[in-house]
Amino acid sequence: MPAVFTLDTSTLGGNSFNYAENPEIEDRGRSISVTWSQSGKNQDMEIFGYSIRYKETEKSPKEQV
């Protein structure tokens, strides 16, 4: 059923927002790509955006041999 909107009480516009932290996404490299997937029956997913935490390290990285 659609949500009930009450004049002078309900909020116009979206106010649902949250975040999830994944500190275990941890490694060293030059590049990163991320995939999100949701395969559950009758389960939803709505992604707004993302941040990637990083430190700049070697400016001229050496490859493992």
Partner: protein, 493 residues
């Protein structure tokens, strides 16, 4: 967070899908996979709505097989669908869905049940994929280019022409100026004929007429738009492709002019008319009339340029594009086409273009996504207004899909999460960002620098006690984890 740590944020999502460019040159809010998602008004990427089997039990069971749910047999193809509102002489209309399934014509009073209009095997063959329904003159005209066309009356009975000669065999028709315009004639491929005004059955009288459009140019008349700014746009194909504009109000001033060459239409059903533009699918990509006229019919003007790999690398079956069909979904701001992936036997990918968010200019962001159903073929589809089968959504425009098992699926099942399935089957929504190599944190970190990645933060709309899989590829190493879609919100300290 250590003092050396910084972060790079891609704010909500105002970037579309691009599978054709080098993934390292794309902006971070673009996507290189957008499966089973739709873009909301702010660009958010949300799992697409689900589908239920159209039936009297659909509200409680998405896979309902209630009585009169299946047309003909469970192996019959639903090959055309239309929403038929008949007024006749009454101000109160009667709604019926009309379907061509197998070799039969069915009707439904939009209550979840189907019933045959006449005896079985009355029209064409199950395998025909050029079956078309035209609503006009308080009739639905059924045609497929092979069988003798027939009409369904407002009383849901089959009727044929009662004035002059019978119709010739034609492929499709449009209703314009109270006339039926029909084309794809089995004996005259470049003909574009019209009936008398106010009588779609009069195809031979003094007020009827015909054009022949560039006869012998290597093409046939394949499709025709809905009336668009007082004109019809006629598409030849499937080899070279030319577009013509027909304007005028009466036979004495009907005039035909060429508009643009190239971009051949392959199937009338792949032509989509909206109030502001005409879209079509060709062997080269997806085009629109406004874009083609404004920017030229060169590749850069293709609306489908960001997903051009589908054509160039044959990720879709090019040889089956003549069976693709299109749709316009006004409340989701999308036009789309159902195509067959390469190597498969079913048409079950719906390539969807969000025209409200997209910039049609060459190089503009295009918001594409691909909706994929599983283990099912969709020979046709249409947006129909919901009837009394679902009183909570009556008159809502819902996307309906034909199947190859005698059933119709009703889409737009997302009013609550229980609708997020395809006739009871789960489906997977997936998004993937480009390969990011240059980061604009406190200071820009170039492509050549090594980065120590130390975390990912995902921003989302909390939906329930669900989780999503997250996979990060750093250079060539993969880290997989999950996130709760309830989210955090209680930092230490």
């Amino acid at each position: 967070m250590s003092t050396r740590e910084t972060q790079f944020t891609a704010h909500p999502a105002l970037g579309g899908l691009d599978i054709s460019s080098d993934p390292t040159v794309l902006d971070p809010n673009f996507l290189i996979i957008a499966d089973n998602i739709e873009y909301k008004e702010g660009g958010q990427r949300k799992k697409r709505p689900g589908h239920r089997v159209y039936s009297t039990g659909m509200v409680t069971s998405p896979a309902s097989t209630a009585t009169n749910t299946i047309m003909v047999t469970t192996s019959a193809s639903v090959r055309a669908l239309a929403d038929f509102w008949a007024y006749g002489a009454s101000i109160v209309p009667v709604q019926r869905y009309i379907a061509v399934t197998g070799a039969s014509i069915y009707q439904s009073p939009a209550d979840g049940t189907w019933s045959p209009i006449t005896v079985s095997s009355s029209f064409g063959s199950d395998s025909n994929r050029t079956t078309n329904l035209m609503v006009g003159g308080d009739k639905v005209v059924v045609s497929d280019g092979v069988s003798q066309p027939i009409a369904v009356s407002s009383a849901a009975a089959l009727v044929g022409p009662t004035t002059g000669a019978n119709w010739p065999i034609f492929t499709a028709a449009r209703y314009h100026l109270n006339r039926m315009w029909y084309f794809g004639l089995s004996t005259s491929p470049s003909a574009f004929n019209f009936t008398a005004a106010n009588n779609i059955f009069d195809s031979t009288g003094a007020d009827s007429g015909a054009f022949t459009i560039s006869v012998g140019d290597g093409d046939a008349v394949i499709g025709c738009s809905e009336p668009f700014y007082a004109s019809l746009y006629i598409f030849k194909g499937p080899h070279h492709g030319d577009i013509y504009q027909l304007s005028g109000k009466t036979p004495s001033d009907f005039s035909l002019v060429p508009v643009t060459p190239g971009a051949p239409l392959l199937n009338h059903r792949a032509l989509v008319t909206t109030p502001t533009d005409i879209f079509w699918l060709s062997r080269y990509g997806v085009h629109s009339l406004q874009t083609t006229v404004k920017f030229g019919n060169v590749e850069e003007a293709f609306l489908s340029l960001p997903i051009q790999r589908l054509w160039r690398d044959r990720l879709i079956n090019i040889n089956e594009l003549d069976q693709a069909w299109g749709f316009w979904h006004p409340i989701r701001n999308i036009v789309g086409w159902c195509v067959r992936p390469q190597g498969e036997t079913n048409h079950h990918w719906l390539i969807c273009y969000n025209y409200a968010l997209s910039d049609p200019k060459p190089g503009g962001k295009k918001f594409w996504s691909i909706w994929k159903t599983t283990n099912v073929d969709h020979p046709c589809g249409a947006v129909l207004l919901v009837g009394n089968v679902d009183s909570n959504h009556q008159l809502d425009p819902h996307f309906h899909l034909g199947t190859m098992n005698g059933q119709v699926w009703e889409g737009d099942q997302d009013v609550n999460d229980a609708g997020l399935n395809d006739a009871g089957q789960a489906y997977t929504a997936t998004i993937q960002i480009p390969v990011l190599t240059r980061f604009k944190g406190k200071s820009e970190t170039p492509e050549t620098s090594e980065k120590e990645f130390c975390g990912l933060v995902t921003y989302f709309n909390p939906k329930g006690q669900y989780s999503a899989n997250v996979s990060a590829v750093i250079d060539r190493r993969t880290i997989s984890t999950t996130i709760s879609l309830q989210g955090g919100g209680d930092p230490l300290g």
